[in-house]
């Protein structure tokens, strides 16, 4: 249970960062923290206390296996997360070249 609470706290830390930080890079880092918390949550779903890797052993059929599907999902989600982070960083670099600053308060071309 504590692990789930930690996961929730991690999500909130990320959300706090996204809302309060003014630096673009820090916003991107906070997004990554939120992302990681969702990956952690997925990994926790499949975990069973005392479970082993799901490689079926005919000699010992009573073993407890962890659920392998969430792990596969997390691997997919990590790859997607990498793409989003890379995309965001690319945009941040371009923004820095155009505006000369990372401060989000000075990047306000669009209004209304």
């Amino acid at each position: 249970m504590i692990a789930y609470i930690m996961c929730f706290i991690l999500f909130m830390v990320g959300l706090y960062g996204v809302i309060t930080r003014r630096n673009l890079i820090k916003i991107a880092v906070s997004m990554s923290i939120m992302e990681i918390s969702s990956f952690l949550f997925f990994a926790l779903i499949g975990y069973i206390d005392g479970g082993v890797a799901p490689i079926v052993d005919p000699a010992d059929p009573v073993k407890i296996y962890v659920d392998p599907l969430p792990q596969a999902l997390v691997l997919t989600a990590i790859v997607i997360g990498l793409a989003t982070t890379a995309m965001m960083m690319a945009i941040i670099i371009r923004l820095y070249r155009k505006y000369g600053t990372f401060d989000i308060r000075e990047i306000k071309n669009l209004r209304g």
Partner: protein
């Protein structure tokens, strides 16, 4: 097994890489190749729509057969509802690709543009055809990441800023969706939509169920830009290149937002009254606030983007009315009428909003400005753009012979028959304000005296752009034929049946 279904995903994904690589060596090839790919997709999507009827065909990815009637592989599903959405995606995509042939000369490295365009189409087709929750998420991310890049394609100040804003909010939406999928998987141990329905049918914790529904609704609501979640839409849609704005506004928010909400809330969750009322409220808010935000805009594309929020409000509102009636178990025929109106308006909105954004792009292409105050008198110099945008404006404001009138009429009739008089009145008032707003657009852009301060004469846009606009305006007029009962029953009724009949979807999938 329907072998056509995977083609909708494979062809554009493979096409994206082909376009990017060949475009580097052979200039000019990329644009025609993209149009050809999309033409092929249009043909197979209309073929699928004409053959699907009330049936449901599925494709098991990797050939994983179900064990004891429990699906284990990824299913791709085509039924009456998503066949319509696939047709819209590929048709608007094809016309936008044709339009880009001339329009993209404003930008460099067109091969990347077309590659991202194909990726976006492939992702949207994947979202719409997928029958598996996590697969929806993966394809959603494919299409969303390519749309981030496309919004920023101009790499000027406002494009980059809009793209960053869009990415932060889009990222939030993705995490909410991912959490929602996680919570669903936790309880049901399955990801297949039909199987989740079966698993929840055996009983569930009501609070948990509601929590999951709200996570999913807010995630996809962010993608669909319902009103509390709308902040990214006007920036992103107005900063993108115009063919992409037409795609984003005309198709994207429907395919990854509204479509998924409808599919999940009708076919995966059991329709409950709390959620139905929540969805109707969000729809009404979007409809009313969206139009009031739109009326003060002077940037054409921003004005159109706010109208997208408002028009999506109509769709969500009418579907919400249908959900309320279904959850009360009363008057199923009125519920079906309301949902018919919603889906009809969704199809119409794709046509006229796509056309309006293409018109805005044409104006920007010729005059170099998007500010309504700086243009005027274009009706003489750009007659085709003027005529097509007149048709589109009349369609969106619901003036009789055009398609928007019939769908709004069905929505309002359904609301009155369901005794939601306030909602019917609001829908009518919003329609009038929409008309006022588009009168302003028409007047300032096409009929006022010219205020343009350029030396060269303003010319009509090149042929490919004209062709797309004319075809879309013909579609706008033709779509009103869907109101005729016989045609409606062959196209819209199967889509409504698959949504309203809560057992049909599950039994058809689990049975195969």
């Amino acid at each position: 097994m329907n072998p056509l279904i995977p083609l909708f995903v494979i062809v554009p994904l493979a096409g994206a890489f082909l376009v990017m690589i060949t475009g580097r060596f052979l200039k000019e090839l990329d644009k025609y190749l993209t149009s050809l790919i999309l033409l092929f997709l249009v043909i197979i999507s209309f073929y699928s729509l004409s053959t699907i009827g009330e049936n449901l065909s599925l494709y098991k990815v990797g050939g994983w057969e179900p064990i004891d009637k429990v699906p284990i592989g990824i299913y791709m599903i085509m039924d009456g509802f998503n066949a319509i959405i696939v047709c819209i995606i590929n048709l608007i995509g094809f016309l936008s690709a044709l339009y880009s042939i001339s329009y993209i000369k404003r930008y460099t490295s067109s091969n990347y543009f077309y590659a991202l365009f194909c990726l976006m189409i492939g992702g949207m087709n994947g979202v719409v055809l997928s029958g598996d929750l996590f697969n929806i998420f993966v394809f959603l991310e494919i299409s969303v990441i390519s749309s981030y890049a496309l919004v920023a394609f101009g790499v000027e100040k406002s494009e980059l800023e809009a793209s960053f804003k869009y990415q932060v909010l889009g990222g939030m939406a993705s995490f909410l969706i991912l959490f929602g999928i996680g919570f669903i998987y936790w309880k049901t141990k399955t990801l297949n939509i039909a199987d989740i329905k079966e698993a929840f049918a055996n009983g569930y914790d009501k609070k948990y169920y509601l929590f999951v529904q709200i996570l999913i609704l807010s995630g996809f609501g962010l993608k669909a830009a319902m009103i509390p979640f709308h902040a990214w839409l006007p920036d992103a849609h107005s900063s993108a290149p115009s063919p992409i704005s037409a795609m984003l506004s005309g198709v994207f928010i429907k395919a990854v937002g509204i479509y998924v909400i409808l599919r999940l809330f009708f076919n995966m969750f059991t329709v409950s009254e709390e959620m139905a009322i929540l969805i109707t409220t969000l729809g009404t808010l979007s409809m009313v606030i969206g139009v009031f935000l739109a009326i003060g805009q002077w940037d054409i594309k921003r004005l159109l983007a706010y109208h997208s929020i408002s028009q999506m409000g109509y769709v969500i509102l009418s579907v919400g009315i249908g959900m309320i009636l279904i959850s009360r178990g009363s008057k199923p025929e009125i519920a079906a009428l309301a949902i018919t109106g919603g889906i009809f308006h969704l199809i119409n909105h794709a046509a006229f909003k796509g056309l309006l954004f293409l018109n805005a792009g044409a104006i920007e292409y010729s005059t170099g400005t998007r500010n309504l105050k700086e243009m005027g008198g274009l009706a003489r110099s750009m007659p085709v753009t003027s005529a097509t945008s007149f048709i589109a404006s009349m369609s969106i404001s619901g003036v009789p012979p055009f398609n928007g009138f019939f769908s709004k009429l069905i929505i309002i009739i359904a609301a009155v028959m369901a005794k939601f008089y306030l909602l019917a009145a609001l829908a009518m008032i919003v329609s009038i304000i929409t008309l006022a707003s588009f009168m302003k657009f028409q007047r300032y852009a096409f009929y006022n005296k010219s205020d343009i301060k350029t030396d060269q004469k303003i010319k009509e846009v090149p042929f490919p752009m004209l062709f797309s606009m004319v075809v879309l305006s013909i579609i706008c007029v033709l779509l009103s034929l869907l109101a005729i009962p016989d045609i409606r029953e062959t196209i819209l009724t199967p889509a409504v049946n698959i949504l309203t009949d809560h057992l049909k979807y599950t039994t058809l999938i689990i049975g195969q």
